[in-house]
Symmetry: C2
Subunit: 328 residues, 2 copies
């Protein structure tokens, strides 16, 4: 079992690499090699199998990034939402031309006689638009309100077609907003969904730009990794032409997130200040806050637990490291 | 009013050019110039305004193809379904990179201070899949079963995003199968839908590869041109983020098409031989045979008349020229 992670230095890529290193096996088979690819050389975890870390541009994807014999490719390389909105060229280049490069790499493997590799692609809730009141069914049409979402939705179509043609065997997972992200607050419109939990747990203040009853579709980094690993190992026979799915995240409100935090650390939410920001509210207000996610459940994607588990997972997995990184 | 037609030498591009030349005005304004662009220099109609015919590659779109001051761009340049299926590289290049080139040309105009030009894009019923029994609503998701349809659906997303960003003001029209096409039978899976009318009206035999009760979503070339001209002149204010629509074609059956032909030319259908072709039936059987098309009606797209009008339009517009071309 040979595995490649494109975007292997990113937030989720590193977690998948660590999980594989801990497991030593994947999909019931021993891992024979792991290749990590990113714009800067990704950190290689200690693993009971060879790990290759490569740096480069996904658009000019080197053959070594998806070497001969690769069984599974996690394609996480992307320019994220705020950046794709700020820099149209960059978003289009990485999110679309990068995806074409992955298609071509897989085509080369198949042309050389290999079995079509499984490709796991991270799409996003941001590829949809909806009101706060909607619960989107699995066949909801993607009408994105941002370039990132448009590029992700277009990439899903291109990958599904490549899959139909036998160049690969793709599963596109439309991730919810992933919270709690470690690190620092940033300029992303969605940054506050993590900040309102992470900062108080670090003893710091955070700003909440939307009302407490604002609804959002979220998942933990831990569950996102579970889903992506499931997508890489599952039977795709029942998927037909439609290679995309919305996994069963949590539909919650900001107020309920804060109450869950208080359940774990009493009084933490006192550090959250309400500072209404209509610009941010307008952006995140177009993202759907709930999906039925029936198809993903039927395909074995594990539903999310309650939000209090997300808070606990952040404390267990990331709080100490975040404190260290930020010198707190 | 300056207008460009990319794909101006094609079946529909030439008809739009001829219509504009006859009218002399468009959207209530005199036409000041028409630019026709295609892989070979398109024929320029006699017109009461300057017509420029240019040849080139849409991916390396010359600035002169969408010159300064252009108000409306008809983007019809495409690799069609059978060709895009046979040659993946070519389809991706023209249907996706070509669309990026149109985005970039419009961005340049807007960056130079111009109003975002209206872009009319021809998408296709082939970007959907459905059974013969389905009537697709306007919010049906595109799950294409062919590379052409996947590329068209992805291009719709890219153009809608470019429109949201203010680079253009796009309307994507998902055309039904256009019949009756002039010319000769070709290798396209959908070729027979035209052949079964055109060939008997020329006094020639045609083969029908599907059963008489096979349902199909069609429109005439004449109505397709009406719709594209409407898309170039309509008010897009009510469209919101969703810049695509399915115009009100005709849902008919092959048997009803033949009966309509007999109504116009008694006995013509005797020249149609039933020769079942499961391969062709499998391809065309994944295309939806009906749409509600409510949104397009509300936006002023004229519904189609009965199929007998399509037969009459072919006789009036194309029969004599087709006879001449084919030496009959």
């Amino acid at each position: 079992m040979k595995i490649s992670i494109l975007g292997g230095g990113g937030f989720l890529g590193r977690r998948i690499a660590n999980r594989l290193a801990q497991q030593g096996t994947y999909a019931g088979r021993p891992i024979a090699g792991l290749t990590l690819f990113d714009v800067a050389p990704p950190p290689a975890p200690d693993a009971p199998f060879p790990v290759t870390a490569l740096a480069g541009d996904v658009v000019d994807l080197p053959e070594a990034a998806i070497p001969e014999g690769t069984d599974v490719v996690f394609h996480l390389a992307a320019v994220v939402s705020a950046q794709a909105e700020a820099d149209y060229e960059l978003g289009r280049r990485v999110n679309l031309r990068g995806t074409d490069a992955v298609v071509d790499a897989c085509r080369r493997l198949v042309a050389g006689g290999a079995k079509a590799p499984r490709v796991v692609f991270t799409s996003s809730v941001a590829s949809f638009s909806a009101t706060q009141a909607d619960t989107l069914p699995d066949d909801a049409r993607q009408v994105p309100g941002n370039s990132y979402g448009a590029q992700k939705a277009a990439a899903e179509l291109i990958l599904a077609d490549a899959s139909r043609r036998g160049f690969m065997d793709v599963v596109s997972v439309r991730l919810p907003t992933v919270v709690v992200r470690p690190g620092r607050p940033n300029k992303a419109a969605s940054s506050f969904f993590s900040s309102i939990i992470r900062e108080p747990l670090l003893g710091l203040e955070a700003e909440l730009p939307v009302p407490d009853d604002f609804a959002v579709w979220v998942c933990s980094p831990r569950r996102a990794v579970d889903w992506l690993l499931h997508a890489g190992a599952m039977d795709t026979g029942a998927m037909g032409l439609d290679r995309s799915l919305s996994p069963p995240g949590i539909s919650t409100t900001v107020g309920d997130m804060l109450r869950a935090m208080d359940e774990v650390r009493f009084g933490s939410s006192a550090l959250v200040r309400r500072v209404a920001d209509p610009a941010i509210a307008a952006i995140v207000g177009t993202w759907p806050s709930a999906f039925t996610a029936e198809r993903a459940r039927a395909l074995g994607f594990v539903p999310h637990g309650p939000f209090v588990d997300v808070v606990r997972a952040f404390i267990e997995d990331d709080l100490a490291a975040t404190k260290r990184e930020r010198g707190l």
